[in-house]
């Protein structure tokens, strides 16, 4: 009986560790994405002509995007496919190479934009496409809400 309990307790704690491991990764990657959201918020007013153009803020947002891509890709362990209301598509684990390429493209685009953007005109010419072809495009292909 005692042994039984011990085994049970052990297996429960193993399961709990697993659960913790995956939830942590999911929570962290959602946090990374929230930071992308916040960075985007800081420049959207300028894009819409509601706030005055400010180059340092734009460059900071672009740097945030690049930093975030580095961390983001480390947060998709096999045990994080489900749980914590993740909206990551299961397709990510079927085609990790494709997903990593999408992340790399985002990094490269943000980097190229940080060179290209020197004033308001270059900002308005460059930024919308960086957002559309990355935030929107990656979410279109690699994300499903309420899939579980």
């Amino acid at each position: 009986m005692k042994l039984h309990h011990a085994v049970l307790a052990l297996s429960l704690s193993v399961m709990a560790t697993f659960a913790v491991a995956s939830t942590a990764a999911i929570g962290e990657r959602q946090q990374v994405m929230k930071s992308n959201g916040a960075a985007t918020k800081s420049i959207m007013g300028m894009l819409k002509g509601e706030a005055p153009f400010d180059l340092p803020t734009v460059q900071k947002a672009l740097a945030t995007y690049q930093d975030n891509t580095t961390k983001f890709v480390t947060l998709f362990p096999d045990d994080s496919k489900t749980g914590e209301k993740t909206s990551a598509s299961p397709k990510i684990w079927d085609d990790m190479a494709g997903f990593l390429a999408a992340n790399e493209k985002f990094k490269a685009d943000a980097k190229a934009a940080s060179v290209a953007i020197i004033d308001e005109a270059t900002f308005k010419a460059t930024m919308p496409n960086v957002l559309k072809s990355n935030c929107g495009a990656c979410h279109e292909a690699w994300r499903i809400k309420d899939a579980q």
Partner: protein, 309 residues
């Protein structure tokens, strides 16, 4: 029973009932439609372009692989619980497209779901919503399509599971569920509200994804726009009525802005099939996007499923 099984059952009943009714397409031809097949003025391709964008025609009819917005060769697979559809070539090509069609044939296709030879179209072509277009607006879309380059080649036949593969069953489905007519302005509402309603309920076909469906795959009217299953796969489509499970916390400007750049008020970027919808609504004017927002916010709030995010 799960949804596909129930749909299957209903479809079988339809097929049986179809015994000899509709064995000849002329019968179908005569019974379908609200009789509004004629335009009252000459076509205006400029208005047609706006409605073509609002209608998302390109999302289904673009040549597969091509990501430009002008080649309507069709063929991009559209996966549904009934099987895979390959939307046809609707470019103005004389041989493989609709280059030889008359205005009346086009009006009947898009408003009644009836092909030039009388065959019924599957409602995966959202004519249940396009039915709300006036014949004048329909020919405007046709005129715009005729300005686009012809594309040769025909996509493969649809790959549907039995019994959905029997096109005749669709005739009866239409008889039961194809209703509604041209949306006319309501005098006691503002011009933008009326415009918004026309775009959302008609050509924009927002309800086709954002509503729950009944056992036969038809939209449940009392729950229109309160969210639905994602017919193309897993997940759900959110409630867009102003309920707390929907857009209660969104301002009209928030909704208009999402339809322009795809960002929610939390600076999340919409994904899934909505990303493609935004590519279309981004082509519209600020006024049209605001009109849709005004209409959505005026709806009675309906409770939907609470989304996880």
């Amino acid at each position: 029973m799960n949804l596909p099984a129930r749909l299957l059952l209903v479809f079988c009943v339809f097929i049986l009932a179809a015994g000899y009714w509709l064995t000849d397409f002329d019968a179908h031809f005569a019974f379908m439609g609200d009789g509004r097949w004629k335009a009252t003025r000459a076509a205006d391709p400029v208005n047609g372009k706006v409605l073509f964008s609002a209608g998302g025609c390109i999302s289904c009819h673009a040549s597969s692989g091509a990501d430009d917005r002008v080649h309507l060769g069709g063929g991009k697979p559209l996966k549904t619980p009934f099987g895979t559809f390959y939307p046809p070539n609707i470019s103005p090509d004389l041989k493989d497209g609709i280059g030889r069609w008359t205005e009346t044939q086009f009006i009947r296709a898009i408003r009644d779901g009836t092909a030039p030879d009388g065959r019924p179209y599957y409602p995966s072509f959202p004519y249940t919503s396009y039915r709300h277009l006036s014949p004048d607006d329909a020919i405007d879309i046709f005129a715009y399509i005729r300005t686009l380059p012809p594309v040769s080649g025909k996509p493969p036949n649809h790959d549907l599971t039995f019994p959905f593969s029997i096109r005749r069953g669709v005739g009866l489905w239409k008889l039961a569920y194809l209703n509604g007519s041209v949306i006319e302005p309501e005098g006691n509402r503002s011009e933008s509200w009326n415009r918004g309603r026309y775009l959302v309920e008609g050509v924009g076909h927002c309800a086709e994804c954002h509503s729950p469906r009944n056992f036969a795959g038809a939209i449940i009217d009392e729950k229109r726009l309160s969210g639905g299953p994602n017919l193309e796969g897993k997940g759900t489509v959110p409630n867009i009525t102003p309920d707390k499970t929907g857009l209660a916390a969104w301002s009209e400007a928030d909704i208009a802005s999402l339809l322009k750049d795809g960002f929610t008020p939390d600076f999340d970027s919409v994904g899934g099939s909505m990303a493609e919808v935004v590519r279309n609504t981004a082509e519209l004017s600020d006024m049209d996007r605001m009109a849709m927002a005004i209409y959505l916010k005026s709806l009675p709030p309906l409770q939907g499923q609470m989304r996880s995010k």
